[in-house]
Symmetry: C2
Subunit: 495 residues, 2 copies
């Protein structure tokens, strides 16, 4: 869909205008607004689920769960915002020996945030997803660039948010929905155009490395560079250790296959790599993988584009030297369905060929057999940044492999002791984001209330009069938020 | 000074090795180390002050004060680190209805940090300055690129830190001092070489826009982009309002001159611009500026390079059309001394000529006379990002100029209600950093304990066994830090 540049400029100007309004809102007001959005989304009926099912091929139970999660995100982020966690008020009064001035700091929004809808989570990481919720929680107007894979779903979600904006009498620029993919006349992508737009102050993105990196580069070349938080996925390595294998090679294989093929493998946290040292127990694990994957039924991918990429990347990796098909689903795929596959290679070959570290988005894994623990440590050391790394291990395995355990800590945002990485809980302790290229800035998360932090900046007020201070920083703590007053966390008023 | 590439690589490798060690330290251990560094610096005698005075021309009283401040920074940051503020532990146990897994998150260092010494603060923002202290507090080894303007001062400070590293038996790579400016053979700047080095994971810089932007660009072009926090200064506008002028045009002029010429104007927060609406009171202010600046004695600048830049930039701005010398110190300058000057222009001319918004590092200001409040608002709206903006105002002035007050909030990290921006207090509430180009990332500060945040990233541990969790996340809270446990801040153990 083609959109005139003037229309995009108008949306950006509306957003910039709405930012002026947003700065006057308190954390409690934004939180209440977010709860209203949650209610509005919750009330959406089958129209939403049907559109998403039709547009993404995701099964209805999955979409129902994702809708619940999306509503939960708005509520959880709202509650954290209401507590004042992200304004992070710090007050140093002038009455101490060392402090000459009264200085009070809190965080405000960066300005209009451009959010890209993601293909694989039409609700939770798209138009009304976590990026939108956290930007609004931060006090930033949002421009959503709709994902072209689910335009109708996006339209319904946007209408839900807009309905709340209207009902509350907030300026329309608080939330704008950009449906176009291409700028009229120039042929430029609307997302690229808006990332370069002077009125856009930050970007949230979930998608491919190519997509995220392109945005990062555009943002860096701006006259005023802006932060881009791009979550670009990873291969989420699983390290299997000897004792864990001894105790349950087959169970582990079953869990791995379930995670690898869940939702046609279309999760950022899909465990696309598994590595262990050659042993009889590792052989049992391998055989169980081979046997287990045969029964996996092909399932439809999100869209034709993703399916085509899957087939191309699968073929590319499979064609590398000294890489063999180890396991494959029996049933051939039809249409845009993905057929699960696991390739096998040696650690030496994996280390030598960077192509083998590339993500194949879909139900595709690479099984690496190392000749020694040293090889496993070498692979750990060479890994690029990941969202997650899983250690299938006993405590004794951990004790016996300190070098590997130590090395993986540098490589991921979330480290699992057993279990599988798919399933990202929306809690304070979640870290979804990792060293580059898993994400563009490992200092932030895109899941959990802390996602709000990406879009705020601190402003300090020195000797400011009470009447002109924001509510969050006044002596009377009417909002009852926790504040660091002269180094001490308290919700008390300042006398 | 020329340094072989192999030596730089060796320092980077040492730092990477030390990072392995650093990750095993607790917040309490790092804090104790930082206090030991503070003690060591405090114990340095006249040797340090004499070297700095000789190398920077800064007067001894100023240097004595800066030394105290530097020691205070190490202690204040240490205490904040010890409290666990920057590991920001978040624990969600699996015993709640909604949370399936036990997830625990805390923040670790990013890895080796490259710190650039600054010319204008040979102690507080240089080798043993705030960037070094905050990186070490974060758990990051530091590579200091010494400022060439004060090599001996830098060497003494580096030796002080190294003495503590040795006394504590910590790996030498925890702190390295790079004295060279140029890489042997290639002629590349050592700072540029190290910013591009794969083992360097973040950069801290205080200096010019050209310097900071160059580092930012190098970091963005790396295969693995890294965060650069560059504080690049600004012109720190002062807005003078009618009632404040009525009440004390002369006092205000005196305060402005004192701040503008303090330390030969060589502060990042030097108020290089002042703006007001034409009125009789504004005329009084202008006359007082003209009269007051005559008595300012020329003072030696930090070094020949800075003096040359000052003269060049002063001449460039002074030569712009419709800009006139309004006020100048009577006494001519000698050698590398700076002679204070204030230029005058109209708001219309200021808006039309971007050269007039450029920082002239030194005792140089631009006085802008606006014809109306609307022009003042237009100037506020056009301003680039600033470290500080000062409103010389009464509360009634604030009420009467809401548009201007609102606009400046988008433009600076610290907003002053009266007073002058020089003098950056080292407190929790400080924000030193502002929208680009004042700094490269307005989400962080480089002064105050919160400076530590620049160099950490969160890591989540899912279902990790107690024995392998870092001390900060174990059930038993032996470090007695505040943690967010199931959404509630507490220092209690988890039962």
């Amino acid at each position: 869909m083609i959109q005139p540049q003037s229309e995009l400029d108008a949306y950006a100007a509306l957003a910039a205008g709405a930012f002026r309004f947003f700065k006057t809102t308190t954390v409690k007001e934004r939180a209440a607004f977010m709860h209203a959005v949650a209610d509005q989304i919750e009330a959406l009926g089958p129209e939403l689920l049907d559109a998403a099912h039709r547009e993404t091929a995701l099964p209805l139970p999955r979409l129902t769960g994702e809708k619940t999660r999306t509503v939960g995100q708005w509520r959880a982020y709202a509650d954290a915002v209401a507590k004042g966690l992200y304004v992070e008020a710090r007050i140093d009064t002038a009455n101490k020996e060392k402090t000459k001035n009264d200085i009070r700091k809190y965080s405000i929004g960066l300005g209009p945030v451009l959010v890209f809808g993601a293909a694989n989570f039409p609700f939770a990481f798209s138009t009304a997803g976590g990026d939108t919720a956290s930007a609004i929680g931060a006090g930033c107007p949002v421009l959503v660039k709709a994902h072209p894979g689910h335009p109708e779903t996006s339209r319904i979600m946007a209408a839900a948010i807009t309905a709340v904006v209207e009902a509350w009498g907030w300026p329309p620029g608080v939330f704008s929905h950009i449906a176009g993919d291409e700028v009229a006349g120039t042929g430029e992508r609307t997302g690229a155009y808006l990332t370069a737009h002077p009125q856009v102050k930050a970007v949230g993105f979930t998608g491919s490395y190519q997509g995220g990196k392109a945005l990062l580069d555009i943002a860096a070349r701006r006259e005023e560079p802006i932060p881009v938080f791009a979550e670009m996925g990873s291969i989420n390595p699983v390290f299997v250790f000897p004792q864990a294998l001894e105790q349950g090679a087959e169970t582990l294989a079953k869990a791995y296959i379930a995670s690898l093929t869940l939702g046609a493998g279309q999760f950022c946290t899909n465990p696309g790599m598994v590595i262990g040292v050659k042993s009889t127990a590792f052989d049992r694990f391998k055989q169980a993988l081979r046997a287990g994957i045969r029964d996996v039924l092909p399932s439809a991918m999100l869209n034709e584009h993703i399916y085509t990429n899957f087939e191309r990347n699968k073929a590319l990796l499979s064609a590398q030297p000294e890489v063999n098909i180890w396991a494959e689903a029996d049933t051939p795929a039809a249409g845009s369905q993905a057929r699960a596959r696991i390739m096998e290679t040696s650690a030496v070959n994996f280390l030598a060929n960077p192509v083998l570290s590339e993500e194949v988005f879909g139900p595709f894994g690479i099984l690496i057999e190392a000749a020694s623990v040293d090889e496993v440590a070498a692979v750990a050391a060479q890994l690029k940044g990941q969202l997650t790394i899983t250690l299938a291990a006993t405590e004794a395995d951990m004790d016996a492999h300190k070098t590997v355990v130590d090395r993986v800590k540098d490589k991921a945002g979330r480290l699992l002791f057993n279990g599988m990485p798919t399933g990202v809980e929306v809690v304070y302790a979640m870290q979804h984001g990792g060293p580059f290229p898993a994400s563009t800035d490992a200092r932030f998360t895109s899941v959990g209330p802390d996602a709000v932090k990406r879009f705020v900046r601190p402003v300090a007020f020195q000797n400011w009069p009470q009447t002109h201070l924001p509510e969050e920083l006044k002596n009377v703590n009417a909002l009852q938020i926790l504040r660091t007053v002269n180094g001490r966390l308290t919700a008390e008023d300042i006398s």
